[in-house]
């Protein structure tokens, strides 16, 4: 059973179609990348999933039942892009407070907070105030408060911003660990290398619409341009074949684009006939970054305001 099923979700503002007919599903334990340029409607979509906004139309099913914000939000942990903590409140009290708002009892909350503080080596922070923390430390605290009630659905908006590599890895490991324990994670970011590393499944939004949906592997296959790299012992003077075009050359390596109707076998055949030694041959798949840019490029950099007729 899917933890989250979103069908034809719509939310229009006075001057923007913030979310326009978005559907997707999220399996338990999966890590889901929600991508899109600034202003694509990601935050609005997330706010509908977290029950902060009501959709204009469409349905959200949570854990097999119709989404009931009142009760289901206890099963959701949301870490917004802009960090939000009470600056003047003691860190221990703050973590307890946020945990109890999620419905944990006082003793449960205390237990969980202590457990996580030990895991993240934050015990000495207990009586400090948030204003005493650095940005990265605040980030860790925010992450802890987001996940400590062990929600079924965790939504992380740019969780790594401001973190050094060591702490990034710490959080990354926690994300994997939580996913393994059965939590589903929606991961919203602009940092494509992290998406490739972490996510199983992605959707790409632009201008409120879904323009791409699939696993990372599927997406890469979909956008591959039949590019291959071949490493040769010595590169022949002239290369001419019907099977491919040479589009790049670097030291002893060539980048080839295979023409329609031919396969990598044809390429290898050609070079074998040339009697040169081949020491590497692999496919070049587009990075998500390239796909992102390709899909989003050409649309205006920032969304224009428009009048919406409801």
């Amino acid at each position: 059973m899917n933890i989250l099923e979103v069908q034809h979700l719509r939310k229009f503002y006075a001057t923007q179609k913030a979310v326009d007919d978005i559907s997707f599903t999220l399996a338990p334990g999966s890590i889901f990348g929600l991508l899109g340029p600034n202003g694509a409607g990601k935050t609005t979509l997330i706010r509908m999933i977290t029950g902060i906004f009501f959709p204009d139309s469409g349905t959200i099913n949570f854990n097999g039942k119709k989404f009931d914000p009142e009760n289901d939000i206890a099963q959701i942990g949301y870490m917004p892009e802009e960090r939000g903590l009470y600056k003047k409140m003691k860190i221990g009290d703050q973590a307890l407070y946020l945990a109890r708002l999620k419905g944990l009892s006082k003793t449960e909350a205390m237990e969980k907070v202590k457990e996580w503080f030990v895991r993240f080596e934050m015990q000495s922070w207990w009586n400090k105030k948030v204003e005493d923390l650095s940005k990265g430390m605040g980030q860790k605290l925010q992450f802890v408060t987001t996940v400590l009630h062990e929600p079924k659905l965790i939504i992380l908006d740019e969780p790594f911003s401001g973190l050094d590599p060591v702490n990034s890895n710490l959080i990354k490991d926690e994300i994997f660990r939580l996913a393994k324990k059965g939590s589903s994670i929606i991961f919203s970011t602009h940092r494509m290398e992290q998406v490739e590393e972490i996510c199983d499944h992605i959707i790409l939004m632009n201008k409120g619409q879904k323009i791409l949906d699939g696993t990372v592997h599927q997406v890469k296959q979909q956008f591959k341009e039949n590019l291959f790299a071949i490493g040769l012992d010595n590169i022949p003077e002239s290369i001419a074949s019907d099977a491919f075009d040479v589009i790049g050359r670097e030291n002893d390596q060539l980048v080839l684009k295979i023409r329609e109707g031919y396969t990598p076998n044809n390429v290898l055949q050609y070079f074998l006939q040339q009697q040169t030694g081949i020491h590497a041959f692999h496919e070049i798949l587009p990075s998500l970054s390239d796909i992102f840019i390709k899909l989003v490029e050409g649309t205006p950099l920032s969304r224009q305001f428009q009048t919406i007729k409801a």
């Binding site: 706010r47 977290t50 029950g51 902060i52 009501f54 009142e70 939000i73 206890a74 959701i76 949301y78 870490m79 917004p80 802009e82 960090r83 939000g84 903590l85 009470y86 600056k87 003047k88 409140m89 407070y97 946020l98 109890r100 708002l101 999620k102 009892s105 006082k106 925010q142 408060t145």
Partner: protein, 430 residues
């Protein structure tokens, strides 16, 4: 535990644990009681200036011995071998504070030729005491010349004071005291509304600017958050009042022990000077006021007014972004009815049953302040009931309305919101 209760708890504890809360809570009553004690001290020691007055009495008014009026503690020394011109030059050097010159005059006619020389301007109280002493001497002279003995005079002299009986129960009206207490309570409500109202606004702004709101509203409904904040801060206010009342009562009990003189002079009948008499009058006046009703109404109107205005302040707090100036602009329309309330209240104290006063005490935006100004003056019960019902209904309506503004505003960033837009949010269907 209920989430609203959790929010209330946090809002309350965070504020009560602050150092500034502890300080204001302790210092304010000390300042008030200190002020009150100083007033009494000054009152009791009235005429305490034991100044030395050199008198050249050419009219032989005092016949060499000053029969001082009550409260006049000055020492009158009669100078015989000096002229006013010569003495004027040296009275300070010879150790006198003042020099009083009484030229010869017709005792049965009004005179303004009596002069008092001093280094610096003499206090009004001191001047009036000296005038009383002189008047007394003149009166005795006039009685003598009319052949009336002082005993006869005392039996002739009339000292009527009119007693004002108000209402059916024939209560003694103590207009002066009632007016003062009314004004003080009205002002207190006004100040308290502003202080706690802006406290709510700043709390909301803090949550919005630090983006805590977004985290918290993914756990609780915005309405719960707003309500929790308003109730939590209201509870802080009530706690502060309770502590103040306890401290004031405590200090009032302690003062007689620490300063026994003061207390006996306050309660005792042998009050030496006129000004202490006033304090006794105030004390007895206070006793006649309906204290139970006053305390009940004060708490009711504080809570009603606070809830009403706090929701408005919360709405304003939710729509402004980091810009303090935007907040100022939006607060103005909220402040105006409160200020108007103070204006109407001062009128209402003078004429508690005028049309304006009645309107002001019924209209929910001004009633918390204005009603405090009328409450002492035995207003009809139905007016009080209507005023209270209207207040409750209005605050319920405004809370419902502002909650909608709050819900939208709290998550909206970077945009300057106008009143028109706020109205649109408030009245659209959810």
């Amino acid at each position: 535990m209920n989430k609203t209760a959790l929010v209330i708890q946090r809002e309350y504890l965070v504020r009560v644990k602050k150092k500034s809360f502890v300080w204001t809570t302790i210092l304010v009553p000390i300042v008030i009681v200190g002020f009150y004690a100083a007033m009494i001290a000054i009152g009791v020691s009235g005429g305490g200036e034991s100044s030395k007055i050199g008198v050249i009495d050419k009219a032989n008014l005092f016949e060499g011995k000053a029969d001082k009026a009550s409260g006049d503690k000055a020492e009158y020394v009669f100078i015989n071998n000096e002229t006013p011109e010569s003495f004027k030059e040296k009275y300070v050097k010879e150790g006198y504070n003042y020099f009083l010159y009484i030229p010869p005059f017709d005792i049965n006619k009004k005179t303004d030729s009596i002069t008092l020389y001093s280094q610096s301007t003499i206090s009004i109280a001191q001047k009036s005491r000296i005038e009383k002493t002189i008047n007394k001497a003149i009166e005795i002279k006039r009685l003598q010349s009319a052949n009336i003995s002082p005993e006869q005079y005392r039996s002739i002299k009339s000292e009527v004071s009119v007693e004002n009986i108000t209402g059916k129960e024939e209560k003694k009206g103590v207009a002066g005291v009632a007016a003062a207490v009314s004004f003080a309570l009205g002002m207190l409500i006004y100040v308290v509304l502003l202080i706690y109202g802006t406290m709510v606004m700043r709390g909301v702004m803090e949550e919005k600017i630090s983006r805590v709101a977004e985290v918290v509203v993914s756990s609780v409904k915005p309405f719960q958050l707003m309500l929790g904040k308003i109730i939590g801060i209201g509870a802080v206010g009530l706690t502060q009042f309770a502590i103040w009342i306890a401290l004031i009562i405590g200090l009032n009990l302690i003062i007689p022990i620490v300063m026994p003189d003061l207390a006996t002079q306050l309660t005792g009948q042998e009050v030496p000077s006129g000004s202490s008499g006033v304090i006794v009058e105030i004390a007895s006046g206070l006793k006649t006021l309906p204290m139970g009703l006053i305390i009940f109404c004060f708490i009711f109107y504080f809570l009603g007014g606070y809830l009403l205005y706090a929701s408005l302040f919360a709405a304003v707090g939710s729509v402004v972004s980091d810009d303090q100036q935007d907040a100022q602009q939006l607060i103005l329309p909220i402040m105006m009815p409160i200020v108007l309330g103070i204006v109407i209240m001062s009128k209402a104290i003078a004429e508690p049953n005028s049309g304006l006063a009645v309107f002001g005490s019924l209209f929910p935006l001004t009633s918390p302040v204005v009603m405090m100004g009328r409450i002492m003056f035995d207003i009809p019960v139905y007016e009080l009931v209507i005023s209270m019902v209207l207040l409750v209904l209005t605050f319920l309506f405004l809370t419902w309305l502002t909650a909608k503004i709050y819900r939208t505003g709290i998550l909206l960033y970077g945009k300057k919101v106008t009143w028109k837009e706020m109205m649109k949010w408030a009245f659209r269907k959810s």
